[in-house]
Subunit: 394 residues, 2 copies
């Protein structure tokens, strides 16, 4: 329906908060149902509430493609996690550049014994990456550190970069051979496989002695928020993946610490997001912790962090912006993984249709006035409520 | 989904009432929430209720394309407002004929000082239009009066007629040059621009001394209600635009006065619509006033007219038809324009699933048994409840 969305500029501000992986399944209650969260619930009472299928009912998305979907982009616009993380790490990519996401790992007798190299620290990993890049980097290939055990291979002007992952996804298995997944990516597969072999020879005496690849893709230019929505947008996120989403969509990246768990890091995100509203029409703010606790199967910590987040939501009273709170997908603790369950969404601001929902959770929001919507509906609904659209076929 | 809809004829009658622009935003209540409307609310209690996105969530449609959407037609079926208003004014169009909607206006020193020529009366405007047509009309071009300050240029056999508007949309600006918006419409643009110049020379001593164009298109034949739904349909509407929608869809036009505000004019519409059910399977009845009050920012008058309309709804008890009440779009008084907010819809008649909704408004209907539907869903739901469809893949 995007051809029917005709944006126009005005002075209204939008704060869009993604509680990554917040949705859950009742056990017997969900963390959102169980948490004491007076501020989120008060916000729900003055919001239009609903449930959001990030892609479509039952579809279980990765975080990157889920974010694109709720920002109004098609799955085919997703350039692959390698590209997103490279962008989020500050790597400049031009159309046709390829990027491959990597982990430092530990290999013994040809078998991966630690897929994350003991969650190697930033300083050590950066030193290793710089050493490898100094030895093996060329005009066509560079190797960059991203965060902790994560790195990226950048292939300049490769054109296509759709290759299989070497990561066996569990410890005790050998790395998988890297293969081209289409006819045009043979050069990328061969280049990456040769690079990994060479790099692992350089790493043979290091604690991290292997590099696993997971996620590849080639960068392409798409219409960002400025072009598609006439929104001057900013991104407040600690993780490279989410900064990468923001950068891919043309948002200004607001630097912030990678502290997702400390009160200070959480406060920093709220403060910087609120401050960014002065110079931006749209601010996307990302909070990561709930997703991690879901993946860890830690229902209780998920509940606890909702309560911690809730205290910071008090700061949003009176900021004079439309505020959206939602999630990119559910990460049920019982599943220890993403699920396709719908997530709650609420939109507050002048003129929204409040409908008696008093709590921000998966069950309460299912009877809200927004109904049950899909990712592709979010931006049209939001731009309409903020009066940032023109009539189609006046 | 229309390929799965296989219509069949029966004797059931459907009355389809469009309260133009009825939907609103809470301020703190909507006019529909605030109005005392015992008859509409009693009808809601015996209806299946829901919310309707006329096109899709958040999309802000013009009235014409919104009507087509809730009648089951695609935006690409919309032939442009020029064609719709010409049809609604009784102009006969053949495939390939173009139509351009015009206003009489006032120009001083090259600048438009009144876009509607003081809302010039019907008689005076008709006289001017007939004078111009007598002087400049040819086999290929005619100029016809529509209503008040509104006229239309008809271009016979032009083929394509996708041209820009000369209306600057505000007073104090000069008219815009008329340009072809596609390669095939160059002839139309040149012909219209030359005609406007010649006509304004004839008007130079008149109170209305300028003609502005807004909305163009070429007529095409589409399957109407008879072909698509096997419905013998009639249209009761005062405004040319809505009569034009009816005529475009092959409905019989029931003549009625243009009195949208008087009790007599409103009663006439209800009476003629109810009477038309004797000879028609489907009667579309249009009431315009709420949209105008929304555009005027007049929340209170919108509320008041809902109460006036409500008294007439008492006449619908016992008419033995399925009755649909809905709106083509919201026109929030706070916005003074159309919005993409969903509108309430209710369908009453034998066998509908009543679900405890007791009021016909935007909030109450959001929890009705119809759920939240889109324009394209309306006719399939309605034909199904009236048993006017066959099984798909029996």
């Amino acid at each position: 329906m995007s051809e029917y969305l005709i944006p126009r500029k005005n002075n209204e501000k939008i704060l869009f908060i993604v509680l990554d992986g917040a949705g859950d399944r009742p056990a017997p209650r969900t963390p959102l149902q169980a948490a004491k969260k007076p501020n989120l619930d008060a916000l729900a009472a003055r919001s239009a509430c609903g449930l959001l299928h990030p892609m479509a009912p039952g579809i279980r998305p990765g975080s990157g493609v889920a974010h694109l979907s709720i920002f109004g982009y098609a799955p085919s616009d997703y350039p692959g996690r390698g590209v997103i993380e490279a962008l989020g790490s500050g790597v400049a990519l031009a159309p046709g550049d390829g990027a491959v996401r990597c982990n430092f790992a530990v290999k013994r007798n040809g078998v991966i014994t630690d897929r994350r190299a003991g969650r190697i620290g930033d300083a050590e990993a950066r030193t290793l990456a710089e050493m490898i890049n100094a030895e093996l980097g060329t005009k066509r290939l560079s190797f960059v550190h991203v965060k902790e055990h994560r790195c990226a291979i950048v292939l300049r002007g490769i054109g296509a970069c759709n290759i299989s992952d070497s990561d066996p996804e569990r410890e005790g298995s050998a790395p998988q051979p890297i293969r081209a997944l289409d006819g045009e990516s043979k050069d990328a597969a061969k280049t990456v496989a040769r690079f990994i072999g060479d790099a692992e020879r350089l790493l043979q005496d290091s604690a991290a002695n292997a590099i696993l690849t997971r996620g590849s893709g080639a960068y392409k230019r798409i219409d960002g928020f400025a072009e598609r929505y006439l929104l001057n947008a900013a991104c407040v996120a600690g993780y490279p993946q989410y900064r990468g989403v923001g950068r891919y969509l043309g948002m200004k990246i607001i630097e912030c610490s990678d502290d997702e768990l400390g009160e200070k890091g959480i406060a920093e995100r709220f403060d910087k997001a609120i401050a960014a509203l002065h110079s931006s029409d749209f601010v996307y703010m990302h909070l990561k912790a709930l997703d991690e606790f879901g993946e860890d199967g830690d229902w209780e910590r998920k509940r606890k962090y909702i309560e911690i987040y809730d205290r910071h939501f008090a700061k949003l009273r009176g900021i004079g912006a439309f505020v959206v709170v939602t999630s990119d997908h559910s990460t049920p603790a019982s599943l220890r993984s993403h699920s396709g369950d719908a997530v709650p969404i609420m939109i507050s601001g002048r003129g929204v249709r409040c409908g008696g929902v008093k709590r921000f959770d998966e069950i309460s929001c299912s009877s809200g006035t927004l109904g049950h919507i899909r990712g592709a509906d979010v931006m049209p609904l939001l731009l309409d409520i903020a009066d940032k659209v023109k009539k189609y076929k006046a």
